[in-house]
Amino acid sequence: MTTIAVSTTINGDDVEYLCHADESLLDVLRNRLGLMGSKEGCGTGDCGACSTMLDGRIVCSCLVLGAEAEGREIETIEGMAHGHDLHPLQTKFLEHAALQCGICTPGFLMAAKALLDVNPDPTEEEIRFWLAGNLCRCTGYDKIVRAVQDAAAEMRGDAA
C-alpha cells in the first residue's frame, strides 16, 4: 500500500510523517509518532478516549485520517503540561481524585480544556453536556465535574 507524506504541527512542533490513506490520526499518533497518551477505547467515535485538538476544535482522533492533518495544528495530552508545570486541570484532577484507572483521563483533560477555552465559567450542566462524549466507567463523573469546576475557578482567579 502506498503512503502519503504529511506535514503538520503537533504541540507546537513541526512534524512530518508517512501514513496509509486509511490510517486514523489516532493510529499515526500512537503507532508512528509514539504519542501514546491518546487512548483507543472504541475506534468508532463513541468513547472520547482519543480526544485531541485539531485547529482549536476537539475531535475524536480515531475518526480523523492521518492524511487530514496536513497543514493543520494538533494538540495532544503530551502538550498539556509545560515541562514540569501541570495545567490547572491536571492538578485539579489529581487533587480531586477524578481518576481511578485513568484510561479516560487524557481524553477528559483535552475535552475539558477545550471547554474552558471557550467558556471559562461553565455551569455544572454545561460541563456535563460538554463532556458527554467522553466515557468514564470508573468514577460516576462526580469527581471529574468537581475537578473541572475547581480548575475553572482557579483559572479565572476566583478564590476557592
Binding site: K39, D46, C138, D142
Partner: protein, 752 residues
C-alpha cells in the same frame, strides 16, 4: 512468623487523609502505560477470526492460503492449543472459550488467529481462512433455554443437584439450594404475600480499555507477557497450564489497567497470543477491538427470578423464597448459586429458601462483574420487599429496619452472622436529608439494600528501605483505583514517616511471590494487611540495627513515631535514631534493610450498603433521569476517603446504567446487535447527577486498622433502588431491567 491481624484502636495520622496518588502525574500527562501502550522489538500484530454463528459445528478449517500470504508469520487454530487440562472441566472451558474446538458456541467465538507483520496483512489473512460450518439451532434466552424443546448445547450435561437425576441432557447444568426453616408454614402465617417474576438483561463490565497483551515465547522455553489484567499471577498460572509452560519461566507484567470490574480476572486472548508467538518465534501484540470486547469477553448473566415474600400486618417477614435462573454462557458455572446465596442475605428470616439454576445459552462465557450475581438477586428481592411494604402500608425503610439481619441472625446462605453493618446503613438512610426532601411532578423515590461477600486471599509484599531512608513498596495486587496511594499511606503510618517518602509500585510475577487477583474487594484490604506486616518486620530489623549502632541490647530499644528510642536510665543521653539515620548506616550494620510479608488475608467480613434514588420519568417518552442519588456503605476504615467515595460513586453509576439502559440485544439469528458503545449505552456525564456518599466506619475486627473491602457492594443496590424509584414515579411495578423507555411506555399502556 505469624501476624496478628486483629483490630487495634489507635490514633492514625496518614490513614484517613487524601494525598495525591503516586501514579497520578503519569496518568494526567499521558505517560502511564496501559495494555496497548507497549511494544517489543520485532513484534507482530495478531488478529482473531470469530464465528458469525451463534451455534455451529466446525467441519473444516483451511488456513493454507492465509499461511501462504506474504507477511503472515503464524496462523493458529484449536489444533495449536492441545488439550492439556487433564479432566479439569473449568480449565477446559477456558481453553475452549479461547479457541473453539469442535463447535462455535456463540457469535464472536474465536475459531482461528493470525500473526502478521502489520495489521493490513493480518486482516487480509483472516479473509483467506476458510471455515466450513454446519449451523445448528441456537438459544440465547434464559427461559427458552430451559424449555423442553430447546436446542441442547452440550449433550453430556445432565442436571446436577436434583433427585432423581434426569435421564436426558438439557441446558440446565445444576440446581443448588440454600435456606432454613419451613417456608410453607411461614407463608401460612403471612397476612400479605407478594409473588412476582423479574428479569434482568445481560450487561458488560464496560471497562474503557479493551483487552490487550504483548506475548513473547522464546526458543529456550521461557516466555514473557505484558498484559492488562487484574491478576498477573493468575494469568501466569492459567496460561502456563494451557500452553504447557513451566510457571516460573513465564513472566507476566501487568500494565496499568484501564478498568476491569471483574472482566480482567479471566483470560480471553492471552493464551492465543502466546500460541501465536510460540509458532511464529516472534513477539506478538494482540489488542481486541471494542466489538470483540462486547462479543467475546465476558458479560454478566441474564436472569429470570421468581420471588415470593410473606409478612404479617405488623411488618414481620414470615417466609421468603426465590428461584433464580442465571445464564452462564455456553459452559457450566455457578453464577446462579452465588445469586441464590446473596438474595436474602440482608434479612433476618425464620423461613427462607432459595434455589439457583445454572442455564447454558449461546452467549459469551459469563465473567465476574463487581459483586458478581448479587445485583440481579437484589433487584428481584428488594423490588418485592418494596411491594410488600406498600401492601401492608408500612414505610419501606422501617420495614427493612424491622427485618434487617443483625449479629446472631442465621444468614440465608447458612452461617450465623457476627457483628454486621446493615442496620447502621439503614438507620443512616432513615436519618438522611435525602429521604425527606420534597419530590416534584413525575418524580419518584426508591431505596434498596445490598449485600456482598468480600474476601482476602494470598498476598505477598516487599518493603525496601533505601539508603536515604525513603521506602519502596512492591505489591502484587494490581491497582485498579488508587490502591498504591492507600498502601503508601499505610506504610507511612506504620513506619511513622511521611507519605511522600514512600513509593508503592505493582511488581511483576518474577519479582514477588504469588498474589491472588485484585477481586472480591480485596486489593486494599489484603495488601494493606501484608504491608503492615512487612513494615513491622522492617521495624524489627531497624531495631537490631539501632542496637548495633548504639552498642546496646535490642531489648532496650523501642520504636515510636518513626524512630528508635533507647529506653532505660542508662541510655537517656542517646538521641533517637530516625529511619533515615538507620538507613544511612545500613551498609555497615548488616546490609540492606527490608521487610517482607507472605500471608493469607482472611476474615474480610461481609459488606452491606443502602442506596436512595430519586428519578423523574417523562410519561410521554418513557425516558428516566436520575435526579438525586445517595450511597451509604460501611468501609470499616476509609484509608483514602476520596478513593472510597470513588468506589461508591462508580459502582452506583454502573448499577444505574444496568437499571436504565444497558443490555445485550440479540437478533433472531443469535447475533449480537449492539456490540459498540453507541448502541450499548453506558451512562455519560450528562445522564447523572452528583452522587452523594456517606461512609460509615464500623471497624472490621479482622484487620489491624479495621479496613473492609469497599469495591463491589456499591453495584448491588442500584438496580432495585432505581426500579423502586421509577415504580414510585409511574405507579406501576417495573419488573424487567433495563427499565428502558419502551418498557416504561409498555407498562404505562398496560395499566391504562
Amino acid at each position: 512468623m505469624s501476624f496478628d491481624a486483629s483490630y487495634n484502636e489507635k490514633e492514625l495520622n496518614a490513614v484517613g487523609t487524601r494525598p495525591v496518588r503516586p501514579d497520578g502525574v503519569d496518568k494526567v500527562t499521558g505517560r502511564a502505560r496501559y495494555g496497548a501502550d507497549y511494544n517489543m522489538p520485532g513484534q507482530l500484530v495478531a488478529r482473531v477470526l470469530r464465528s458469525p454463528h451463534a451455534h455451529a459445528r466446525i467441519l473444516r478449517i483451511d488456513t493454507s492460503q492465509a499461511e501462504a500470504l506474504k507477511g503472515v508469520k503464524a496462523v493458529v487454530t484449536a489444533a495449536d492449543l492441545p488439550d492439556l487440562t487433564d479432566g479439569d472441566a473449568s480449565l477446559f472451558a477456558i481453553l475452549d472459550n479461547c479457541m473453539a474446538r469442535t463447535k462455535a458456541l456463540y457469535d464472536g467465538h474465536a475459531v482461528a488467529a493470525v500473526a502478521a507483520i502489520d495489521v493490513h496483512v493480518a486482516r487480509k489473512a483472516l479473509k483467506l481462512i476458510e471455515v466450513d460450518y454446519e449451523v445448528l439451532p441456537h438459544v440465547v434466552d434464559v427461559d427458552l433455554a430451559m424449555a423442553p424443546d430447546a436446542p441442547v448445547l452440550d449433550e453430556t450435561i445432565i442436571t446436577k443437584g436434583v433427585t432423581p437425576a434426569p435421564d436426558a441432557p438439557s441446558n440446565v447444568f445444576a440446581h443448588s439450594e440454600f435456606g432454613h426453616g419451613d417456608v410453607a408454614a411461614g407463608f401460612a402465617k403471612a397476612d400479605e404475600i407478594v409473588e412476582r417474576t423479574f428479569k434482568t438483561e445481560q450487561t458488560h463490565q464496560g471497562y474503557i480499555e479493551p483487552h490487550a497483551c504483548v506475548a513473547s515465547c522464546n526458543s529456550d522455553g521461557s516466555a514473557e507477557m505484558w498484559v492488562c489484567t487484574q491478576g498477573p499471577f493468575v494469568y501466569r498460572q492459567v496460561c502456563a497450564d494451557l500452553l504447557g509452560l513451566e510457571v516460573s519461566k513465564l513472566k507476566v507484567t501487568s500494565s496499568e489497567i484501564g478498568g476491569g470490574f471483574g472482566g480482567k480476572t479471566h483470560v480471553w486472548a492471552e493464551p492465543v497470543a502466546l500460541a501465536l508467538s510460540r509458532k511464529a518465534g516472534r513477539p506478538v501484540k494482540l489488542v481486541m477491538s471494542r466489538n470483540e470486547v462486547f462479543r467475546a469477553s465476558g458479560p454478566t448473566s441474564a436472569t429470570s427470578i421468581d420471588v415470593k415474600i410473606g409478612a404479617t400486618k405488623d411488618g414481620t417477614i414470615t417466609a421468603a423464597e426465590a428461584t433464580l435462573r442465571y445464564t452462564s454462557g455456553p459452559y457450566p458455572d455457578t453464577w446462579a448459586e452465588t445469586g441464590a446465596m446473596t438474595a436474602f442475605a440482608c434479612y433476618d428470616l425464620e423461613n427462607v429458601k432459595t434455589v439457583g439454576i445454572e442455564v447454558l445459552v449461546n452467549r459469551p462465557k459469563v465473567a465476574a462483574y463487581r459483586a458478581p450475581s448479587a445485583p440481579m438477586a437484589a433487584f428481584a428481592v428488594e423490588s418485592a420487599i418494596d411491594s410488600l411494604a406498600h401492601k401492608i402500608g408500612i414505610d419501606a425503610v422501617d420495614f427493612r429496619i424491622k427485618n434487617a439481619a443483625r449479629e446472631g441472625t442465621r444468614s440465608s446462605y447458612g452461617p450465623v452472622y457476627g457483628p454486621i453493618g446493615i442496620g447502621p446503613t439503614l438507620e443512616a438512610a432513615k436519618a438522611h436529608a435525602h429521604m425527606s426532601a420534597p419530590l416534584g411532578k413525575n418524580q419518584g423515590r426508591g431505596m434498596a439494600c445490598g449485600f456482598w461477600f468480600n474476601f482476602g486471599g494470598q498476598t505477598c509484599t516487599d518493603l525496601n528501605i533505601s539508603a536515604d531512608g525513603t521506602v519502596t513498596l512492591s505489591v502484587g495486587t494490581v491497582d485498579v483505583g488508587g490502591s498504591r496511594a492507600s498502601l503508601s499511606m499505610i506504610a507511612a503510618e506504620e513506619l511513622g514517616i511521611a507519605y511522600e517518602d514512600v513509593k508503592a509500585g505493582v511488581a511483576d510475577t518474577a519479582s514477588l511471590g504469588y498474589n491472588d487477583m485484585t477481586d472480591g474487594s480485596r486489593g486494599t484490604f489484603s495488601s494493606s494487611m501484608a504491608t503492615i506486616s512487612a513494615a513491622r518486620n522492617a521495624i524489627a530489623v531497624m531495631k537490631q540495627r539501632a542496637a548495633l549502632m548504639w552498642d546496646i541490647p535490642v531489648e532496650d530499644i523501642e520504636w515510636k513515631d518513626g524512630q528508635a528510642h533507647a529506653v532505660g536510665a542508662s541510655h537517656d543521653n542517646l538521641a533517637p535514631l530516625s529511619v533515615k539515620d538507620i538507613a544511612a548506616k545500613a551498609g555497615n550494620t548488616g546490609g540492606p534493610i527490608a521487610g517482607h510479608s507472605e500471608l493469607v488475608a482472611d476474615g474480610a467480613g461481609v459488606s452491606f450498603g443502602t442506596h436512595i434514588c430519586d428519578v423523574e420519568v417523562d410519561p410521554e417518552t418513557g425516558a428516566t433521569r436520575v435526579i438525586r442519588y445517595t450511597v451509604i456503605q460501611d468501609a470499616g476504615k476509609a484509608v483514602h476517603p476520596a478513593y472510597v467515595e470513588g468506589q461508591y460513586q462508580g459502582g452506583a453509576a454502573q448499577g444505574i446504567g444496568w437499571a436504565l439502559n444497558e443490555e445485550y440485544i440479540y437478533g433472531e439469528d443469535g447475533r449480537l446487535q449492539n456490540a459498540g458503545f453507541l448502541d450499548y449505552r453506558i451512562p455519560v456525564c450528562s445522564d447523572l447527577p452528583m452522587i452523594d456518599t456517606q461512609i460509615l466506619e464500623i471497624p472490621n475486627p479482622n484487620h489491624p486498622y479495621g479496613v473492609r473491602g469497599v469495591g463491589e457492594t456499591s453495584i448491588v443496590p442500584p438496580l432495585a433502588a432505581v426500579a423502586n424509584a421509577v415504580s414510585d414515579a409511574v405507579g406501576v411495578r417495573m419488573t424487567h431491567v433495563p427499565i428502558s423507555p419502551p418498557r416504561i411506555l409498555a407498562a404505562l399502556k398496560a395499566q391504562r
